[in-house]
Amino acid sequence: MTVKEYNNTVELYSDNVFRFILKNIRDEEKAKDIVQDAFAKMWLKADEIDGEKSKSYLFTTAYRTMIDLIRREKKQGDWEEVKEQSYAHNDSYSGLGEILQNALQKLSEIQRSVILLRDYEGYDYSEIGEITGLSLSQVKVYIFRARKSLKDYLVSVDTVI
């Protein structure tokens, strides 16, 4: 991977990977740190990375860094607290997008990740499998169940409204 390819990756995908991480953990500062860390790791390995696979490498690295962070903080006990705080501030809905953002937070971490990779980045199941370390059938199951959960959430919100 050349310097030019690396810088192109920054230009093209830094927003995407930041958005992906932020929607997963809903903590902007931590999301910034994870993205910075992912790019730093990619730069260190630049000589070994195929330029055409830079996006996949970036998302894989960022995803794994995020999972490590989540696990570490769950052990420390402050992750659930963060989740509770962020749930608390938004119970009113102004549109479908906002409803879906809330619905996303009801999903499990892995379901949320695969749905975001699928909808935000348009990855196919095998690419999502590479990034998350899941098998093809696992990815499919998580996505289908996530869709069902999102749809049920829409039904419930529609009933409430």
Binding site: V10, V17, F144, V155
Partner: protein, 348 residues
């Protein structure tokens, strides 16, 4: 055995009667009980009115929708609708979904809701520190460049240690030497010969062959263990003078004739090209370190650079920092090497 029927256990008899599980004697007993308790007759009629329709037999579409997809655990119609929005649906599955929707049009509402579960990007989110991630081009410095710099620096320091006077290779002028078989018979051609840079003194930059051809003033004493490098040892070679015959007038008032012109001594001008010598480095081919150093020194000598300038230029280029030498002469002599913000000095 169920025993005698009474108002506490009659429901069991009613159910068994509906199911057809009572014997004739039990049915007779039930009829006798109902005759004595006519209020419960209506209740038995209510039991008989209850009929449960088997959905799997009465409604094929409902039966199909209750089937579950093996891996996802979803009902069949849910699985098919999600496959539809995920664009993973097969033609057979698509036909099946159409069939289900035709039989149960309310499934269209569910399908519409599934379409709404596709999340669009939140374009308002962007990474704020993008500029900090941009990298500049790496400066590729190969090992032999460092080695060259180190060799030149070492050479310079040794040079200074021996003598406090700088060596000025440009003081060497080109001169004609007697090499009968060579067309390029000037002293500068000597630098194209094999150089031995580990020897002391400026003459070491010249070829051994030269040492034979230019006696005394240029060559070092052959057997001197540590030849000193000083100004006296640097011999300036006279510029080449083309040896042309000069015809002088035989008498003082005699003017020279056109047939016998006076030809003044002509200094030979030589403009050697160094292009070929650097071809190997500019093309990126591998060359041995000693060959690279020799070429570098040769080129700069021919450009008229001093040796110090050569060293500093090379080091500055490699380190991408301003590098300079400072010398101070007082009670103690001091030499300082400045590299960027750092300074290395030595006093004596």
């Amino acid at each position: 055995m169920m025993g005698q029927i009474n108002r506490d256990n009659y429901e069991v008899y009613f159910l068994d009667f509906i199911e057809g599980n009572l014997s004739k004697s039990q049915i007779s007993m039930l009829n006798a009980f109902l005759a004595n308790n006519p209020d419960l007759k209506a209740e038995l009629d209510g039991f008989e009115a209850i009929t449960i329709e088997d959905p799997l037999e009465s409604n094929d579409s409902l039966k199909a929708s209750l089937k579950r997809e093996e891996t996802t655990g979803l009902l069949e119609h849910e699985y098919l609708m999600i496959s539809q929005i995920e664009n993973t649906i097969t033609p057979d599955e698509k036909a099946k979904l159409s069939e289900l929707v035709n039989k149960s049009p309310d499934l269209l509402d569910s399908l519409a809701l599934y379409h709404k579960t596709i999340i669009s990007k939140d374009q308002s989110v962007s990474f704020p520190n993008k500029a900090t991630l941009i990298q500049k081009d790496k400066k590729v410095v190969v090992w032999w460049q460092y080695a060259t710099a180190a060799a030149i620096l070492l050479f310079a320091m040794l040079n200074w240690n021996i003598s406090n006077k700088e060596y000025f290779p440009k003081n060497f002028a080109f001169t004609e030497v007697s090499t009968p078989s060579e067309s390029s018979n000037y002293a500068f051609t000597l630098v194209e010969e094999e150089l031995v840079i580990e020897e002391k003194g400026p003459v070491n930059l010249l070829a051994k062959k030269v040492q034979k051809e230019i006696p005394d003033v240029i060559t070092s004493p052959q057997n001197e263990p540590t030849p000193q490098f000083n100004q006296e040892s640097i011999a300036l070679v006279e510029p080449p003078i083309k040896k042309e015959p000069i015809s002088l007038p035989k008498q003082a008032n005699e003017t020279p004739s056109e047939e016998e012109p006076i030809t003044p001594p002509i200094k030979e001008e030589v403009t050697p090209s160094t292009t070929d010598e650097f071809a190997s480095t500019t093309k990126g081919e591998f060359i041995p370190i000693d060959e690279f150093v020799k070429n570098k020194i040769k080129s700069d000598v021919l450009k008229g650079k001093t040796f110090s300038e050569t060293v500093l230029d090379e080091l500055s280029e490699l380190a991408n920092e301003k590098i300079s030498f400072e010398t101070k002469n007082g009670e103690t002599q001091k030499l300082a090497l400045n590299i960027g913000k750092f300074s290395f000095s030595r006093s004596r």
